[in-house]
Amino acid sequence: MVDEVKKSLQDLLGKVNGLYSILITDRDGVPLLKVGTDKAPEQAMRPNFISTFGLAIDQGSKLGLGKTNTLICSYSQFQVVQMNKLPLIVTFITNDTCNTGHVLALEKQLNPIVSDLALAVAES
């Protein structure tokens, strides 16, 4: 199963220009699956960075706009797009010029993969 999922993620990676890496982690930022190129910054793939998403969505929910679905961090050289699929977090790392809308549109294709993984995580 892991190989199939990795292959689908690798396919997605090729579809978006400037997309460096896709990570599927648990809520603590521990990686379950990681695909990507060596261009992705090591710092953005660390669990302590990814797990801050959990804190950010807690704060985001206080805005009264409902559950936070997506968080986009735009830096001078990179963009980090994170999706709330709790108990999992999906993280995309891209370059600064990458088409953010295209990355967001990948969500639909990722949903079946993530729900399968979430089930596997819940069972274990």
Binding site: T100, G101, A105, K108
Partner: protein, 83 residues
């Protein structure tokens, strides 16, 4: 966009910025398609880098979609085709 949507045959339009984020949508078009149309315009432009931005026209038996980028804004117009 109001003007556009009232043209005959037009049933939807969507506009995206240079990052593929939706600027506006009217009619039967999805905000999620903003990223895709931005990417299509970007890829099509690579075919002829020296030419000006192309108009990409996708058509099937009953609908068509025209995509064009001007500056940083990409627009897509969805139309019903009357044969």
């Amino acid at each position: 966009m109001d003007e556009l949507i009232n043209k005959p045959g037009v049933y939807g339009c969507v506009f995206a910025d240079h990052q593929g984020l939706c600027l506006g949508v009217k009619g039967k078009a999805s905000t999620e398609s903003a990223g895709i149309i931005g990417a299509i315009a970007e890829q099509a432009a690579k075919l002829e880098p020296k030419s000006k931005m192309p108009i990409i026209y996708l058509e099937n038996d009953n609908r068509s979609c025209a995509i064009h980028r001007t500056g940083t804004v990409t627009g897509a117009i969805f139309k019903n085709v009357h044969s």
